[in-house]
């Protein structure tokens, strides 16, 4: 039960910078089901923050609060240090938060360029699509992310492999000067080589100074790319671990039997004192 050296409690700041996204005391219930209870979460620029937890731990609910799909019952969302209210995915996009969903959210019948610009097409005064411009910029974006496996950016997404599709989905998310990219199980459906491809891409995003949140069941993936790991259990945050100072075993323990740092109703509990 004693906190190990890698155990960082509550609002302790392992990196000096202020968090780009900070969630404070987020609670959300659906009828009688308490999905989230007083959850704290934060991520900084240049950091890959993994969000792990068992099924039903509240990972998706937490992310949907950031996406504006759910609105939290209580708690505060701070973006770049300022409190914000996110009511729709468009609000999130305006702030610079982009999402890459588990089921890809690409249109199979459209080509890579068309998917990259879906919903934000460049057009001229005659409502004509600026195809050359979009094609050129897509090529640049993919190049900057070292996505080199796609033969033609004018081929339909249906003809791409799983890893290539996921790469397109990620590239689509970072194209818009986004500051924070949230990836929901990006490697769930991929093979070994494909997973590797996507994880490389995730690392590159952080290297380019973006904040990345990686939701994953796969601790192997998490330990490969994440700088920090937030563990959720039964709708509560169990703690934040630094990759360098923790072990998979410890994280697994936290996922399955972790003790929340805070329990609603009880102000502060033992782990706080232990550190």
């Amino acid at each position: 039960m004693g906190a190990s050296s890698g155990f960082v409690v509550g609002n302790a700041t392992p990196v000096s910078e202020t968090p780009i996204l900070q969630l404070r005391g987020i609670s959300k219930s659906f009828g009688s089901v308490q999905a989230l209870t007083d959850v704290d979460f934060e991520v900084r620029l240049g950091e890959v923050m993994a969000l792990v937890g068992d099924n039903g731990a509240g990972k998706s609910t937490l992310i949907k609060c950031v996406a504006g799909i759910h609105s939290p019952d209580s708690g505060q969302i701070l973006f770049d240090g300022k409190p914000v209210h996110i009511h729709s995915p468009k609000d999130a996009a305006r702030l610079g938060i982009e999402f890459v969903y588990q089921d890809l959210a690409l249109c199979d019948n459209l080509d890579v360029v068309q998917n990259m610009y879906l919903g934000r097409e460049e057009r001229d005064w005659l409502f004509r699509l600026k195809e050359p411009l979009m094609e050129q910029r897509t090529a640049e974006t993919l190049k900057s992310l070292s996505v080199t496996t796609i033969r033609s950016i004018r081929q339909p997404v249906a003809s791409l492999s799983g890893g290539q599709r996921q790469s397109v989905a990620v590239a689509k998310a970072v194209q818009w000067n986004s500051k924070l990219v949230i990836l929901d199980e990006p490697t769930a459906a991929l093979g070994v080589a494909q997973t590797r491809q996507v994880l490389e891409l995730v690392k590159r995003l952080a290297d380019q100074g973006l904040a990345v949140v990686l939701i994953s069941h796969n601790l192997h993936d998490v330990f490969e790319v994440a700088t920090s790991i937030t563990v959720l259990r039964l709708g509560r945050d169990v703690g934040v671990y630094e990759r360098e100072k923790t072990t998979q075993q410890e994280v697994v323990q936290a996922i399955t039997a972790g003790i929340p740092t805070k329990v609603s109703g009880i102000p502060e509990t033992t782990p706080e004192l232990a550190s």
Binding site: P89, L118, L129, T149, V192, H220
Partner: protein
């Protein structure tokens, strides 16, 4: 245990892109397309040629300039409906109401030009009212589909019954309404003089060539490679041959002589709707919603708005078709909008290669499909066959076209494209 976790996965390098692929020649691509089943418009053009050859032998007065003009006017109304069907099918929806909706347009246009009535308007105003009314009805039906979530099959099936009922109720009393307005009748009965025909051909070819040149220039400026340059040239030449050829044949006809306005209207709508579908954000969003509505929604596209507008287009095009069909007969009677019109329009879009499941198809496929249906129907009529035969043959062609398309797509899936 924790120390055994290998943080770095086994070294699997990223596969390299193949630059040589980008420079593969036209023939190589054509061969690849053929092998992988990506046939494009080729099967339907070949099919059409075979149909024409067959009926030219079967009926003496089929392969004539007069009959060429006939077919253009016969197919114009149907093609307009089929244009609308393409948009609805692109969404993966269906609109069964367009047959009788075109009847409503015919009724409206006849009613609003009625001489001596309190609501006699100039022909063009009557046409605008009729088309606008149909677009509005389409919008209402689309709203029920998009906002309430009732399946489009049910909403438009109800529409089919309702508008048929309205037509019967109105015309039971009035019998037949004769259309006397010249503007309205001209949509199906006006033929341009030879000189105007040539000018139209030159304008169409010029606009197409300029448009192509424009996109080539802007591609060059952006440093984007021009794919298949030979094909671009071939397309411009093809359009020139088709337009000038059409005018040449139409000018050669005796009764009626000259290029029919109805054909020009079809081409105008073909150009405008193709532009809408392929060159504007709206068209892109239609394809996106048909391909993956959830992805479209997450990309910030207002899916309900797209659906409603598409049903308005479908209704509006039914209206345009209805006006032309009524103008051809110079009257509106109890049979208006009925018969095989609805199923012919859907068949036309599908024969042309538009998928019933959304996200795949072209506006031009409606024209090609309608051309096939109209040619077969005209050919069988000319050769002296009865209506039953026409239905059977059209059915067989529909089945053949879709079977061929399905096989082609399975080949495509197998070759991983």
């Amino acid at each position: 245990m924790s120390s055994e976790v290998d943080v770095t996965a086994p070294g699997i390098g990223l596969p390299e892109g193949d630059d040589a692929e980008a420079e593969a020649g036209l023939w190589r691509r054509a061969y690849d397309n053929l092998r992988s089943g990506n046939l494009g418009v080729l099967p339907i053009v070949i099919g059409l040629a075979l149909i024409v050859v067959f009926f030219s032998y079967k009926a003496t007065n089929f392969f004539t300039a007069d009959n060429f003009n006939n077919i253009i006017v016969q197919m114009a109304g149907l093609t307009m409906l089929a244009f609308g069907v393409v948009f609805v099918l692109l969404l993966g929806e269906i609109d069964l109401s367009i047959g009788y909706l075109s009847g409503i347009a015919a009724l409206a246009v006849a009613e609003f030009q009625l001489a001596g009535s309190s609501h006699q308007y100039p022909g063009l105003v009557a046409i605008a009212i009729a088309v606008g009314l149909c677009a509005f009805i389409g919008g209402v039906q689309g709203s029920i589909v998009a906002k309430v979530g009732v399946p489009s099959f049910v909403v438009t099936l109800a529409g089919l019954l309702i508008w048929q009922g309205v037509i019967l109720q109105v015309l039971e009393v009035k019998g037949v309404i004769v259309i006397q307005d010249a503007w309205i009748n001209d949509t199906a009965n006006h033929y341009f003089t030879a000189r105007v025909g040539w000018i139209i051909a030159a304008v169409v070819t010029g606009v197409y060539a300029l448009g192509t040149l424009g996109s080539v220039v802007s591609n060059r400026r952006a440093g984007v490679a021009i794919r298949r340059p030979l094909l671009v040239v071939a397309k411009v030449v093809g359009v020139a041959v088709a337009t000038f050829g059409t005018v040449a044949v139409s000018n050669h006809a005796n009764v009626p002589n000259g290029l029919p306005l109805a054909g020009v209207l079809v081409v105008i709508f073909l150009i405008v709707l193709t532009f809408l579908a392929k060159r504007t954000p709206f068209g892109r969003h239609v394809y996106a919603v048909g391909g993956n509505a959830e992805a479209a929604r997450r990309a910030g596209i207002n899916v309900a708005r797209i659906r409603i507008i598409v049903f308005m287009i479908s209704g509006g095009m039914a209206g345009v078709g209805g006006v032309i069909l009524a103008a051809r007969l110079n009257s509106v009677d109890l049979n208006v909008g009925g018969g095989t019109l609805l199923l012919d329009a859907i068949s036309a879009a599908v024969i042309g290669g538009t998928s019933l499941f959304g996200g795949r198809g072209e506006v031009r496929s409606a024209l090609l499909g309608a051309l096939v249906i109209a040619t077969v129907s005209n050919g069988l009529n000319t050769a002296g066959y009865k209506t039953g035969t026409i239905y059977i043959v059209t059915g067989v062609i529909l089945l053949l076209a879709v079977t061929l398309d399905t096989i082609a797509r399975r080949l495509q899936a197998r070759s991983g494209r």
